[in-house]
């Protein structure tokens, strides 16, 4: 059998003449990988559509002033029709416009909850992972374990009940109970890359811990963090809807998806549109983020 040997002559490479690696190519490659799975693109479209609706609410909604204290009993409790695509509720407000406005609250909660949780949980995980074996690491992981020992919604509900019910406090409650997952995730990533050669060489070269953590280890952990972030926006929105279902989220008359469902439950089955449409809206948003998260996971994974 012949032995194949590859001879690559590296002595004459002129580094300045190599094609530059630019960001545009990187993004194009990522996009190609992402779009291989059509379902992921659907997820992205859903998320973009929801964000678009939430941002440009004033221009799109058919009855933008129905979100406030608006009463018009002549139009109350109408079934879905050409003028009110989702019907009207008991005081005459258009359900479609209220659902659109509720998107804003939901997305706000999802994004900002994740924006709070990920830095805090992630940095704690980085520290715990890098200094693993020392006291601070055990302390952080133990505290995370304790927070994880409570069933998720209990802590969220309890913190919400102490504070006044509002959107911001609901977000705070969700952040308080959700950060340990990121700490665990990042801890796992950090401990597995900690003994890699490039980290050790950076240490030998005298790089500061800050540099190693944030510029060597963290970029390698971004893939699972990103995936989990996307999925968690959906989870945070779901938790927010649950909270507002029991009355601990945004207060009336500001519409919020969970509150709309809970208000409509008493009118089942006659005025089914009061509950069904907000519930479907919740489902669609969370579904979009879930599919998008799966797509991001596939995009960032290195399988052939």
């Amino acid at each position: 059998m012949e032995k194949y040997e590859y001879h690559i002559d590296v002595s004459n490479i002129d580094v300045s003449k190599l094609p530059a690696r630019n960001r545009a190519d990187d993004f194009r490659k990522l996009w190609y990988k992402f779009s291989l799975n059509k379902l992921s693109v659907v997820g992205l479209v859903i998320v973009l559509a929801v964000s678009f609706i939430a941002l440009f609410y004033k221009q799109i909604a058919p009855y933008p002033d129905h979100i406030g204290a608006y009463i018009d009993f002549s139009q109350a409790s109408q079934a879905p029709s050409a003028t009110n695509l989702f019907g009207t509720d008991v005081v005459g407000r258009d359900v479609l416009s209220r659902v659109m406005y509720a998107f804003r609250g939901a997305l706000y909660m999802g994004f900002f909850a994740v924006c709070i949780i990920v830095p805090i949980g992630g940095v704690l995980g980085l520290i715990a992972g890098y200094f693993s074996g020392r006291f601070i690491s055990t302390l952080i992981m133990r505290v995370a374990d304790v927070f994880l020992a409570l069933p998720a919604l209990i802590l969220v509900m309890y913190v919400s009940s102490i504070l006044e019910p509002s959107l911001r406090n609901a977000m705070l409650a969700i952040s308080v109970s959700w950060w340990p997952w990121y700490t665990r995730l990042v801890y796992g990533c950090v401990t597995s890359t900690r003994n890699e050669v490039f980290v050790q060489s950076a240490e030998v070269l005298g790089a500061s811990s800050f540099h190693i953590l944030f510029r060597e280890i963290l970029p390698n952990a971004m893939a699972p963090i990103f995936t989990k972030m996307t999925l968690d926006v959906g989870v945070a929105i779901l938790a927010g809807a649950t909270l507002s279902f029991v009355g601990m989220g945004e207060q009336p008359p500001t519409p919020s998806l969970g509150a709309m469902v809970s208000d409509g439950v008493g009118y089942l089955p006659d005025q089914w549109w009061l509950s069904v449409f907000p519930a479907l809206a919740i489902m669609v948003i969370v579904l979009g983020f879930n599919i998008l998260g799966d797509g991001i996971k596939d995009m960032l994974s290195n399988e052939e």
Binding site: V143, F147, M157, V276, A279, V286
Partner: protein, 347 residues
């Protein structure tokens, strides 16, 4: 099964670490219940009580002493069963828990059975018909289960089964007009059967089947998803190919030989879900008007019932920790790889 010292030592060590988590949990609960919300005694008694009574309660609850002393008193009380008096029902919280716990327990047991059986079954089905419509159906179902909130399924179930096809009742544990059975375990179905009243048991069953099914949806989806993923991963393993080469029918391979190794991650996930059922049942209990512990907890939180809330949180935390511990042990029993991995590492 040999009982060797090493395994018992390992269990003891796991138990100790869970105990530490529980202690940490109690500290956390103490902090968020006592330290944070402000004037505990005033909140416990309500706004209209005169100041002397509040001061007397403060003395009794040792609220004027440093926090660690309060913590010790509180732990002593909890461990001896004195969980305080609920502001709402004016009964000892322990009695309240004893009244409402069996209802939630029944619900959780049924949901757990549904979740395990149907989740694993659906996962195996999806593997067997992988690529065909059954697989797509199961995948869509599992997406929906994860994505849709509990109360959505509750609402749909009520619409379908109580209004469109009126076969199932929608509230309470037994129909009005039926007498509750003699209280042995306080779980209505069991008690009816024990008292020899099958009609009563059937009625209680009809009341519980919708909440239990709705509650189990999220767990079914996750279990199905994970089972399917790990089973399709195991389909190509060398031992499966060897069994096919021997001529063992595919069905037998799936159910007899592939099932146990694939259940590893499913069991972890299922146990997490089942433990979370205790807390997550409050939505379903509210919608179906099922008098259970979670609904009681929700009312307590909304009414700022300090004692009840702290008791319930630590109670559910204890259940969670216990459950995790048993799952670890169970995993060790079921999967020899978990058991022997340390031994292999040591040798």
């Amino acid at each position: 099964m040999n009982i060797d010292i090493k395994r018992i030592q390992k269990y003891a060590k796991t138990f100790m670490s869970y105990l530490m988590v529980f202690v940490g949990l109690s500290i956390l609960v103490f902090i968020i219940v006592r330290v944070m919300p402000g004037d505990t005694a005033r909140m416990a008694l309500g706004p209209r009580v005169p100041e002397e009574t509040v001061e007397a309660l403060r003395q009794e609850m040792h609220l004027n002493e440093p926090y660690y002393v309060q913590y010790v008193y509180w732990i002593k009380d909890v461990l001896s069963g004195d969980l305080g008096i609920s502001v709402i029902s004016k009964r000892p919280v322990l009695d309240d828990i004893k009244t409402y716990l069996p209802a939630t327990l029944e619900l959780v047991v049924f949901s757990a059975i549904f979740m395990s059986v149907f989740g694993i079954l659906l996962g195996v089905l999806a593997t067997k018909y992988s690529g065909k419509w059954q697989d797509a159906f199961v995948r869509i179902l599992s997406y929906l289960g994860i994505v849709a909130p509990n109360f959505l399924w509750a609402v749909i179930a009520i619409l379908l089964f109580s209004y469109k096809f009126p076969i199932l009742p929608i509230s309470g544990r037994i129909s009005p007009g039926m007498l509750p059975p003699p209280m042995v375990t306080r779980m209505y179905i069991v008690d009816y059967l024990l008292a020899g009243n099958p009609a009563g048991a059937w009625d209680a069953f009809k009341h519980i089947i919708m909440p239990a099914t709705v509650l189990s949806f999220g767990g079914i989806s996750q279990a199905a998803r994970i089972t399917r993923a790990s089973m399709t991963g195991n389909l190509e393993k060398p031992y499966a190919s060897a069994e096919r080469a021997y001529g063992i029918p595919e069905r037998k391979i799936l159910f007899k030989y592939l099932l146990k190794p694939s259940l590893n991650s499913t069991i972890s996930c299922l146990s997490l879900d089942i433990a979370a059922l205790f807390g997550g049942a409050f939505l379903v209990e509210t919608v179906f008007n099922f008098p259970g512990l979670s609904r009681y907890a929700l009312q307590a939180m909304l009414n700022k019932d300090v004692f009840a809330v702290s008791a319930i949180i630590i109670f559910e935390g204890a259940i969670f920790v216990l459950f995790n511990f048993f799952t670890d042990v169970l995993l060790g029993v079921l999967d020899p790889r978990v058991r022997y991995s340390r031994r292999i590492q040591q040798s």
